[in-house]
């Protein structure tokens, strides 16, 4: 099962690539805010069946209510869109925004595991975890950089 998880994570990354392409296409035809609103709205309708299925299965269970912040992930999604469009439209450009985003994401994910933030279990980070994160991070930065040299080339 472990290997399937690894594969699923890589496939989810490919899915994110598609959504970035698709959402930016929508944003160019609308606006950043309107595009993000539509993306979340379409997603809500698509996910409704999953929610109803869960609701139906839980109808006889009285589960303890969860803390409200557990439902707050979506608010940050809106802020993320705004922060990145501000960064990408500055002197840093799109590749600068991607690089900084990757650095922030990777280092904070290590902190989440290392310190057990946001109610996550604390996990001991091994040298291999750090090596893996730095390999993927430096590889990604190289690729973004190569893309940048392409964009500035005549």
């Amino acid at each position: 099962m472990g290997r399937l998880y690894l594969l699923l994570a890589v496939i989810a990354g490919a899915g994110i690539s598609w959504t970035v392409y698709s959402n930016s296409l929508l944003a160019t035809h609308t606006t950043d805010i309107m595009g993000s609103m539509m993306v979340h709205g379409i997603g809500t309708f698509f996910a409704l069946s999953f929610f109803l299925y869960y609701f139906y299965r839980q109808r006889n269970h009285k589960a303890a209510p969860l803390p409200l912040w557990n439902y707050g992930g979506g608010i940050l999604g809106g802020l993320i869109v705004l922060l990145f469009s501000k960064t990408a439209n500055s002197y840093l450009g799109i590749s600068g925004a991607i690089c900084l985003g990757l650095v922030g994401q990777t280092t904070f994910a290590l902190a989440v595991d290392g310190f057990g933030l946001f109610g996550s279990p604390r996990r001991r980070l091994s040298g291999l975890d750090l090596l893996q994160a730095s390999l993927v991070l430096s590889g990604s930065l190289l690729l973004v950089w190569s893309q940048n040299s392409r964009m500035t080339a005549p």
């Binding site: 472990g2 606006t31 979506g74 993320i80 990145f84 590889g139």
Partner: protein, 147 residues
């Protein structure tokens, strides 16, 4: 200088948002967490949309010009968000994000390659090799760390 902070905090917020989703995924199901993520996001963005002038806020949309691919992001995003929330609960945030980023960037390389848009083969090859080495470490050290 402040823009650097914007970019970094955008990345941090991605990790925060998905970790919060993973808490809900553990308590309920991953796809239920993805539903709430999109519902709350839609509500928040609607408020922002209305607060910035709504349909009079400068959007001059010609709907017949919008290609069908533009509408698919929301649905694919639901599946990807659910998968990531599920995986953070199983393998931890750093491992999940490292692999998700790999998949994301490698897809970009394949798409560029298909469209013949790769200009620097040296940089692209070395970047890809580094990422594949990173993924390889995951497969070698296959046992997910116990919480």
């Amino acid at each position: 200088m402040i823009e650097i902070l914007f970019g970094l905090s955008g990345g941090v917020l991605i990790a925060v948002s998905q970790t919060i989703n993973s808490r809900l995924a553990i308590a309920t199901t991953a796809m239920n967490a993805s539903f709430w993520n999109h519902l709350v996001g839609a509500g928040f963005m609607s408020l922002l949309f209305l607060g910035t002038g709504g349909f009079h806020g400068g959007a001059n949309v010609q709907w017949q010009m919008v290609p069908w691919q533009a509408y698919l992001g929301g649905a694919v995003g639901v599946l990807a968000t659910g998968a990531i929330a599920f995986l953070i609960g199983r393998m931890g945030a750093s491992r999940t994000f490292t692999l998700v980023i790999s998949g994301q960037v490698l897809t970009g390389v394949v798409m560029d390659g298909l469209m013949h848009r790769i200009s620097s083969h040296e940089l692209t090859l070395s970047g890809t090799a580094l990422i594949l080495a990173g993924i390889g470490i995951s497969f070698l050290k296959n046992k997910p760390t116990a919480p």
